[in-house]
Amino acid sequence: MNAVPRSGVVIADKSICHGCGICELACSLSHKGACGPALSSIGVLRDPLAGDFFPETCKQCQFPSCYYTCPVEAIVIEPKTGARVIDGEKCKGCGACAKACPYNELETIIRRDSERGIYFKCDLCTGLNREPICVEACPWKALSYVPANERRGK
């Protein structure tokens, strides 16, 4: 596996997340023009009876399984942020990336857009030309953006 350029990442502080889901809806609204966790690249996992919830974000891995696995090379490294991005034009909807992702057991990181029949994931909002919208929208500052050059570890 060849190393790919380091990426920025959105990280979540579970201890102050209020579970409101604003991050999910800001994500789907800005990227897909619709509101709903089904089209969001960030997922708030909730266990309401236990009073537990936290946002699951794409780790933008140093060695991204999704990137290595895609048979049609639809996953590209965005040059500015380093985000591992699915190119919707190239994606054939096979789902190999979603299966390969080691953090996607609840399908919160790589999801299928059922209307278009393709997969999508967090692009760190590079397409929107602004800092990640989930970070901007979180009312509790439970999310923060760490650019590639400030990122430590894997």
Binding site: H18, L29, S30, C35, G36, R46, L49, A50
Partner: protein, 649 residues
């Protein structure tokens, strides 16, 4: 054509026939918005005179609105409407609503609402998974509490489903029974849990994989973010900290939580794994404002069961599916006063003792299961008084009208400190309603009570001018002038909040600590500056793509309120005389003195002048209290006008 905001279909369920179908939301959307508004139209069309709360023919109308499931601040709400068993002297059509995540999920499944009629032969629950709708046997969950019911359904249908259900209280037709979701989201007022119980409907479980499409996504996004930005830090107490006190957090697993989708605020805490006091074991529940009264430690609620027991009592009440508000602002204060006067001193042999958590748990269980005296207490205070022939005058001090205890009106309600003359507007909100108006009508009395501690009355008067049209509307020196306008304003605003929907604790957005004059505003390149009063309108237009003028949007609220009045007139013979029945309650001395420093009471003569002014401004006949034909025609309700004409004979 793509539908924006709404998702286009209303699910129709006939439990008697075990039949499911759908109808078109858009038939109603433009005129009645959603939520409470569309529900009122359906009720007018389908729920006629003489339908009792527990009749199979009563429609339980569960409606979201065009903003449910969207990023609009605090929009994750759902309205529950129908003939309500809690209403007194007879069940009549009214409304309730709840936050949480149920309504959003329903929209993601493709439905703006559910209209349920009939009665299942055996206990059932309704399962909705996108287009697949099934009535399933509820034998295994009938009898379970609301937490255990949800656990069962999550085990069976997946941990990410959303559930609205009833506990034993709803099954046993307790008039204080709520429809419950998660740990403390509930449609409480009205007793709609008992309506579900009467239909043998234990729960509705829903999972949706869709979304809500937005007409102007970019505009809508920027509006939502800007309103949230203004909101953050706009509270008189400033923004609550993200983290609870470390010691308490550690001891009680405390966590801040948004009670509903898209809420940028926090009104309560999630208490986790708190040890019980009455019974061993642990309790986990969210606690909203009113649940805090379980603890006591208050001049009126003069017991102190401690923090741990208060969490336990809130959890027990939530599991049983009892209405916190009616319990803590009505039944418990009534029992407390009955005890003080020696009218009722024990419950089935056990002394009434609110400082004993054990007593609380047994009391709530007796009510929920209708055991012993609980069978009478389950009827709620106005009917208990009729049955026992005791404590009538106590009830009259606690209950303004319609079977609902006081709320932000300065008299019965011992928990909320509103003073004269702010409650003159509260009285005007109460007098034409069908229930306690304040679950969606806090905008005037609560907000002014709070903000008067932060801003000068001069500053508030200017905001009053901006919002209600005159500085006199909020000026304490004019107690009986310009009070009808804010009352009608808040009644219509409450329709907007219940229909779009938006949360009443957050909306309307009038006050801000971010502007010099204290009036909330946002500025966006596309719109320029938008005043707080118009936030709802801009969200609605951007979400739905309907380009109507703001006046037309507000007229929808007036239309809905007037239609609800027409339902009252046609189904329940509502008149001016019944409206005035709230006056004696307000003629008693207020709880707390305001700026005048002496305890005031309502001046009947002056109030009656406001009453006439109210009917005039509403376009209702002063003598009968009926909406006039002209007003109904003006609101595009020609068919309603015609039906009311026939009633006149």
């Amino acid at each position: 054509m793509t539908i924006h905001g709404w998702v286009g279909k209303i699910l129709r369920v006939d439990l008697t026939e075990e039949r499911v179908s759908t109808s078109d939301t858009m038939r109603f959307a433009e005129k009645y918005l959603g939520g409470r508004g569309i529900a009122a139209r359906i009720a007018w069309d389908e729920t006629g005179t003489g339908v009792d709360a527990f009749d199979a023919d009563n429609r339980l109308i569960i409606m979201t609105g065009p903003l449910t499931g969207t990023l609009a601040p605090s929009s994750g709400r759902t309205a529950f409407c129908g003939v309500a068993p809690q209403a007194y002297p007879k069940p009549w059509y009214t409304r309730s609503n709840m936050g949480g995540w149920f309504g959003s999920e329903l929209k993601y499944a493709g439905y703006d609402g559910i209209v349920i009629k009939g009665k299942a032969e055996k206990p059932v629950y309704l399962s909705i998974r996108d287009g697949v709708v099934e009535l399933l046997e509820a034998r295994e969950i009938w009898g379970r509490d609301t937490f255990s019911t949800q656990k069962y359904l999550m085990d069976r249908h997946g941990g990410d489903v959303k559930v609205a259900c009833i506990g034993p209280s709803g099954e046993n037709l307790v008039r204080l029974a709520v429809v419950q979701s998660e740990t403390e989201n509930a449609a409480g007022q009205g007793g709609f849990g008992a309506v579900m119980g009467s239909k043998n409907l234990k729960a509705i479980v829903v999972k949706g994989s869709g979304t809500v499409k937005i007409a102007e996504p970019q505009d809508f996004l920027e509006l939502c973010l800007a309103i949230n930005r203004d909101f953050q830090g706009a509270s008189p107490q400033e923004r609550p900290s993200a983290r609870p006190d470390a010691g308490i957090a550690q001891a009680y697993g405390l966590r801040g939580i948004a009670c509903s989708q898209s809420c940028p605020w926090r009104c309560g805490w999630m208490w986790r794994n708190v040890p019980g006091t009455a019974y061993p074991g642990i309790n986990t529940t969210f606690m909203m404002c009113v649940a805090g009264l379980f603890r006591g430690s208050h001049s009126f609620y003069d017991w102190n069961v401690g923090q741990e027991a208060s969490v336990e009592l809130a959890a027990v009440s939530n599991k049983l599916g009892l209405n916190h508000w009616s319990l803590l602002l009505g039944l418990v204060p009534w029992l407390k006063e009955c005890k003080a006067r020696g009218l009722i001193t024990e419950v089935d042999g056990e002394a009434i003792d609110f400082s004993n958590p054990d007593f609380w748990v047994r009391l709530m269980r007796k009510i929920s299961y209708r055991e012993g005296l609980g069978n009478i207490l389950a009827e709620d205070v106005p009917r208990i008084v009729d049955k026992l022939g005791k404590g009538k005058d106590i009830a009259e001090k606690l209950y303004p009208a319609y079977g609902f205890p006081g709320h932000w009106d300065g008299h019965g309600d011992k928990a909320n400190p509103v003073f004269f003359p702010l409650w003159v507007v509260s009285a005007l909100q109460w007098f034409t309603d069908t229930r306690d108006p304040f679950s969606s009508g806090h905008g005037y009395s609560q907000n002014l009570t709070r903000w008067s501690r932060v801003y000068s009355w001069e500053k508030l008067a200017k905001i009053g001018e901006e919002v209600y049209g005159s500085t006199k509307s909020v000026d304490p020196n004019y107690p009986y002038e310009y009070k009808v306008q804010p009352a009608i304003g808040e009644q219509d605003e409450s329709v907007l909040k219940d229909s779009l929907p938006l949360c009443d604790q957050v909306w309307p957005r009038f006050y801000s600590t971010h502007t010099e004059d204290g009036y909330a505003r946002i500025t966006l390149p596309k719109h320029g500056t938008i005043g707080g009063k118009s936030f709802e309108y801009h969200l609605y237009v951007a979400a739905t793509g309907l380009k109507l003028p703001e006046e037309e949007f507000r007229r929808c609220a007036e239309r809905v309120f007037t239609l609800e009045r027409a339902i009252q007139v046609r189904n329940d013979g509502r008149t001016r005389e019944q409206d005035l029945a709230i006056i004696p309650y307000f003629e008693t001395e207020e709880n707390l003195p305001g700026p005048s420093e002496k305890k005031e009471s309502l001046d009947r003569e002056k109030f009656l002048r406001l009453v006439d002014e109210y009917y005039e401004l509403r376009g209702w006949d002063k003598t009968s209290g009926w909406p006039t034909r002209e007003k109904l025609m003006e609101l595009g309700l020609a068919d309603v006008a015609e039906e009311l004409e026939k009633l006149k004979g």
